[in-house]
């Protein structure tokens, strides 16, 4: 008896299983569920008919029926999730877009390579304890020349190609500063000797000379440096500038050569060369080869310059240096020509400019490569 009933039930289950498998949609499934497990469903009816049997049979078949019931439930749920998944896949497929398209957007801008160089210099010298200061572009003759030990008739003046402004009522004419060195004088004048111990300044800025050709621009940029203290000697000049050159060019073993030279406002004076290789096409490889390339001028501040600003050269001494920033920029970033620096050609700016999120610093690196 029991086994017959079980067989019947098994057949019923098989039929339901097949119809679940063959169902085409969630609503088919719902019909199957109602027809089997609903109030008038086949399984429900079967359960209801169990009343007429013995307790033993009731018990056994009841358990069997419950098992079948949960099997059907599970089958329906599983099948339902299959439908759901298929439905989603179909929907997503219909939502497909053309990923090859790109909308236009206002592009991010660039920073000028000269600004970049100034920031790199500031980062390097800041690490050595320097502060940035600046001074006016329009200077008096005194600050630009006389105070720097370049009197009126000095031959060095002729090399400066000075721009003059119209004379004032006293016949005095101001000049556009020919170098950043006058700011040395302005900063030293402000020193309060009572509390003075040491200063370290760098002075990047615009400079002007009346010269315009392939390698000269009437306006260009220099960075001046000044260190003054009680025990600053030429060894510090060397140490500081070697560290600068190697850091700036990112070459640990960059050869740096100091060569005697002459500047009216320093004594002794030195020009600084770095080692390089001149390629046949005219380009340069920094740090390799047998050639030397001059990149900056320097020297111990001339005693007469110190006296001129009221500093006793027997108590204080220091060094100063100056460099052309366009040249440094061109060397480091392989820019072949000076003139486009001021031409504002968007193509040049985009090519040689730097992205604004790359802040040059010693901890993140100075070599701007991501533009």
């Amino acid at each position: 008896m029991v086994s017959e009933l079980k067989e019947d039930l098994q057949n019923l289950l098989n039929n339901i299983t097949i119809s679940i498998q063959n169902s085409k949609s969630s609503s088919d499934l719902e019909n199957i569920r109602v027809n089997s497990l609903g109030k008038k469903g086949s399984i429900t009816l079967y359960l209801r008919n169990l009343r007429d049997y013995d307790l033993e049979i009731k018990k056994e078949i009841g358990a069997y029926l419950n098992d079948i019931k949960s099997q059907i439930n599970k089958l329906i749920i599983d099948k339902k999730s299959v439908f759901k998944k298929e439905h989603l896949e179909k929907k997503l497929k219909s939502e497909k877009i053309d990923v090859s398209l790109t909308p236009s957007e206002a592009e991010i801008g660039t920073l000028h390579p000269l600004s970049r160089t100034i920031e790199e210099l500031c980062a390097i010298f800041a690490d050595m304890g320097f502060c940035i200061v600046d001074g006016p572009d329009i200077e008096s003759d005194y600050y630009n020349f006389t105070a720097l030990n370049i009197p009126e008739e000095h031959p060095a003046r002729q090399e400066h190609d000075t721009f003059y402004l119209q004379p004032d009522v006293n016949g005095q004419r101001k000049v556009l500063r020919t170098h950043t060195s006058p700011v040395q004088i302005r900063t030293m004048e402000k020193i309060d000797l009572k509390s003075f111990d040491e200063i370290r300044y760098i002075i990047p800025g615009r400079t002007y000379r009346s010269d315009h050709d392939a390698t000269h621009s009437p306006m260009f940029h220099q960075c001046e440096g000044l260190v003054l203290g009680k025990n600053i000697n030429m060894g510090h000049l060397k140490g500081c500038l070697i560290e600068f050159c190697r850091t700036y060019f990112n070459e640990d073993n960059l050869p740096v050569r100091f060569r005697p030279s002459y500047f009216p406002f320093t004594e002794p004076s030195a020009e600084v060369d770095i080692g390089c290789k001149k390629e046949n096409d005219g380009s340069l490889v920094i740090g390799e080869g047998e050639d030397w390339l001059e990149i900056l001028g320097s020297g111990m501040v001339h005693p007469r310059v110190l006296q001129g600003v009221g500093i006793d050269p027997s108590k204080y001494q220091g060094f100063a240096f100056g460099m052309g920033l366009e040249r440094l920029t061109m060397l480091k970033y392989g820019i072949p020509d000076l003139r486009p620096f001021y031409d504002s050609d968007l193509r040049w700016l985009k090519h040689y400019g730097f992205i604004p999120v790359d802040n040059p610093s010693l901890h993140s690196g100075l070599n701007g490569v991501f533009s």
């Binding site: 502060c131 009126e152 060397k238 504002s344």
Partner: protein, 800 residues
């Protein structure tokens, strides 16, 4: 300063080779600019004899020649007027590089006649500028030899840069002396034979200067020469002059030029027959004096220029250039030779005023060897006698006694100033080799610099001499220590503001440019500048005459350049100075920007949108936010400078100080630049931003509410003249604690809105602080808001 290797060896006895010398020169401060060996360039040029000359059948001015090099015969077409049968000249075969023409010779047909090379002029060999004919060699010249051997050109030419303090190295001897001091050999004695002369000088000096002005000419020497033969100079002399870019002229002139290069001592030679009278007078010029110089120009002199005159007037600008009238020419037989010391300052001033440069001026300005006039009288006499023959007179001279300069020197200063330790004996030996005299008194040295080093005038100069010869490479490299310092920011607040502003602007699409600080007068005027004090006396071009009063014109120019080459949409900014006057306080740092064209480009997704006033306003606000401008302190006004569109521009101020001008550029200016679209710009005067309180670094405590913010929207009708932003201000003022934000959703004029009115829709964000707001409380807030708009702006809710 150019000289040749063999010339150097006239003064320097050395076993070092050229490359060792070249390696040493820069180390002692004599930078090598170039090294050229003519012999290398000219080795393929050979001597030939012209054995046949025939007229070219198809060209009047050409000849067809046969030349013979001792072995082979070549056909050459030649156009030189001086070509003749039997002449010996210089031949370049096919394949030879001709330096004067910068070409390589190919076999060619010239008007139908084949040519297998070229007969050359001096210019083609870069020997001189002479191109009047082909080179004529001595008839005795051997055939088939390299021209560098025949013409004795095998002598490398060295050019070095001489710094303004080293006048002594403007002569080969000075360079030899420095090399000797640096251990590169020994300085030979100068070959001077003292000869007092046979007769009294025909010409005499008269120094016509007041006692207190005699320093202008502290020394002048001269002597007369007679029975001279002023021919062409010997080949060796010509070659040396050519090598150092001096054009050979005649023996006497060549010798004076040679001695100038040789020992750095300029000389001047007068033709005695052309001097009026027996006296040459040294005096100061009077304004209006005229002077015809040897360079062919006539100069009108000013007062107080040092001149030399005879009875006919000025004919020599002392130390700068001789006069045409009394100059030596080919048939000169009697000559008076001058060697003087003139005040360098006076020479420099005169030269600069007249804009007259010369090799002599260059040397006088840098200071000459005070003892050189005496020596050169004998040195030159011997050379002139040897080359031009004749006899010479006794020396006539004027001189002031000069006190020797003495410098007290404590050798410890060398270490103190440079950090390098040098034995006293070595220091002394270096100085002595350079010609310094040292008398030691205990530990202090009394140093007398040599007469040829007028630049030495202090202790630091002497230190430099010692360490220069000892070698800069021996100076130790010492790191700057931090001593008592803690790390401090290198940038000032101003620098930081520029740094941040640049980054914000670039992120918003601006490209940074750097433009010249000067522009043309018309633009300076247009932008309210152009004052006299900011006008350049000597501009480099008429486009760059005035210091800029604003960066906007520079940026408009930048836009124009790019538009002209096809660019469409441009955003540029510059951080830089503008000038309101010529004092430091009138130089103002600004951040200036321009936008031109489309903000949004048309594409498959969206339509194009042009930049307008509001984009620039936003740029300015973002920059000001970033550089620390307190938002509430900014007030907006509509009185921007005249170069802005009067209706579409504004000014942000804090108190009376202008923080930024911005808006559309005036249409007249936009037209002036030829733009088809409007340009929108700003200028931020960040120096006017009040500095934040330095002591207050920490921020107020953050209060965050967990309660949901509520938003309410309103639309009001107000007078169209009322600035829309006023609605927000009034709304915010209702309850500053609860109302955190008010934004304008819509501004509408037109249908359903009364004339001269506009509708403003706003969204108000209300953030409950302590507890959720009840409907009643919210209703109350709304009513307050509506009442406030009514009261303050006569506005009312729009019926929908």
């Amino acid at each position: 300063m150019k000289f040749t290797w063999k010339w150097l060896l006239d003064h320097l006895e050395t076993d070092k080779n050229l490359s060792e010398i070249l390696g040493t020169l820069p180390k002692i401060g004599l930078e090598v600019a170039s090294i050229v060996n003519l012999a290398e360039d000219l080795k393929s040029f050979i001597s030939v004899e012209i054995i046949d000359v025939k007229k070219h059948p198809n060209a009047d001015k050409l000849n067809v020649c046969k030349v013979f090099d001792g072995k082979n015969t070549f056909n050459v077409v030649c156009g030189a007027p001086n070509v003749k049968l039997g002449m010996k000249s210089v031949f370049a075969n096919i394949g030879t590089f001709i330096p004067g023409l910068n070409i390589k010779l190919n076999k060619g047909k010239i008007r139908g006649e084949e040519s297998f090379g070229m007969l050359c002029s001096e210019k083609e060999l870069t020997l001189s500028e002479n191109h009047s004919g082909i080179i004529e060699l001595e008839p005795s010249s051997e055939l088939g030899l390299s021209i560098s051997d025949i013409m004795d050109l095998n002598d490398p030419i060295i050019e070095i840069e001489i710094t303004p303090n080293r006048g002594d190295c403007l002569g080969v001897r000075g360079i030899a002396r420095d090399l000797a001091a640096a251990g590169m050999g020994n300085l030979k004695d100068l070959d001077v034979i003292i000869n007092d002369g046979e007769f009294g000088s025909i010409i005499n000096w008269h120094v016509d200067l007041d006692e207190d002005e005699k320093y202008l000419c502290p020394k002048v020497f001269g002597r007369s020469f007679t029975n001279l033969k002023n021919d062409e100079s010997p080949l060796w002399l010509k070659n040396r002059l050519i090598a150092v870019d001096q054009r050979p002229i005649s023996s006497i002139v060549d010798i004076t030029n040679y001695i100038m290069i040789d020992i750095g001592r300029p000389l001047h030679a007068y033709d005695i027959d052309k001097i009026k009278g027996k006296i040459l007078k040294i005096s100061k010029s009077k304004k209006g004096d005229k002077f015809s110089a040897l360079n062919g120009n006539t100069y009108e002199l000013d007062d107080n220029m040092l001149v030399i005159s005879d009875e006919d007037g000025v004919d020599d600008l002392a130390g700068i250039m001789g006069g045409e009238r009394t100059g030596v020419i080919e048939n000169t037989t009697k000559m008076f030779l001058e060697a003087a010391i003139f005040d360098p300052v006076s020479i420099a001033n005169t030269g600069r005023k007249l804009n007259l440069n010369s090799d002599a001026r260059y040397r006088f300005e840098r200071g000459l060897d005070y003892n050189s006039p005496e020596i050169v009288m004998h040195y030159a006499a011997a050379m002139i006698n040897k080359i031009c023959g004749g006899t010479f007179s006794k020396i006539v001279s004027f001189k002031l006694e000069q006190k020797n300069k003495q410098i007290k020197f404590d050798p410890n200063i060398i270490y103190q100033l440079t950090g390098v330790k040098i034995e006293n004996e070595l220091s002394k030996s270096i100085l002595e080799k350079l010609g310094f005299k040292i008398a030691s008194v205990e530990n202090i040295w009394d140093i007398t610099p040599p007469s040829w080093r007028p630049d030495i005038d202090g202790v630091a100069d002497i230190v430099e001499e010692i360490i220069r010869i000892n070698g800069y490479d021996k100076i130790p490299s010492t790191k700057l220590s931090r001593n008592n310092y803690i790390a401090k920011p290198a940038m000032s607040i101003k620098h930081r503001q520029a740094f941040f502003a640049s980054r914000i602007l670039a992120n918003r699409g601006y490209n940074e440019v750097i433009t010249f600080s000067f522009l043309n007068k018309a633009m300076a005027d247009q932008f309210n500048g152009g004052g006299f004090s900011l006008n350049l006396v000597n501009p480099i071009s008429s486009e760059l005459t005035d210091m800029r009063p604003s960066i906007i014109p520079n940026l408009l120019l930048a836009v124009q350049k790019n538009v002209n080459i096809g660019a469409q949409d441009l955003s540029f900014f510059e951080v830089g100075p503008i000038f309101k006057g010529d004092t430091p306080n009138e130089q103002i740092s600004t951040i200036t920007g321009i936008r031109y064209g489309d903000k949004i480009k048309k594409d498959w997704q969206k339509d194009a949108v042009k930049f307008d006033f509001y984009d620039i306003k936003l740029d300015v606000i973002k920059v000001l936010d970033t550089i620390g401008v307190p938002k509430n302190s900014l007030k907006i006004f509509q009185d921007a400078p005249s170069y802005f569109h009067p209706g579409r521009s504004a000014v942000f101020k804090i108190g009376q100080k202008i923080i930024a001008n911005f808006g559309e550029i005036h249409p007249e200016i936009v037209d002036f630049f030829g733009f088809t679209k409007s340009a929108i710009g700003f200028e931020i005067f960040y120096e006017n931003v009040p500095l934040p309180n330095r002591n207050k670094i920490s921020k107020p405590m953050l209060k965050i509410s967990n309660l949901q913010p509520i938003t309410r929207e309103f639309a009001f009708i107000i007078d169209e003249a009322i600035e829309s932003e006023k609605v927000c201000q009034v709304a915010k003022s209702i309850d500053k604690d609860l109302i955190t934000d008010v934004i304008i959703l819509d501004v509408y004029k037109g249908e359903k809105i009364p004339q001269k009115k506009k509708s403003i829709a706003i969204k108000v964000t209300i953030q409950p602080v302590q507890e959720t707001l009840t409907d009643t409380a919210l209703e109350k807030l709304s009513v307050n808001l509506i009442n406030a708009i009514d009261k303050k702006l006569s506005g009312f809710l729009r019926e929908i």
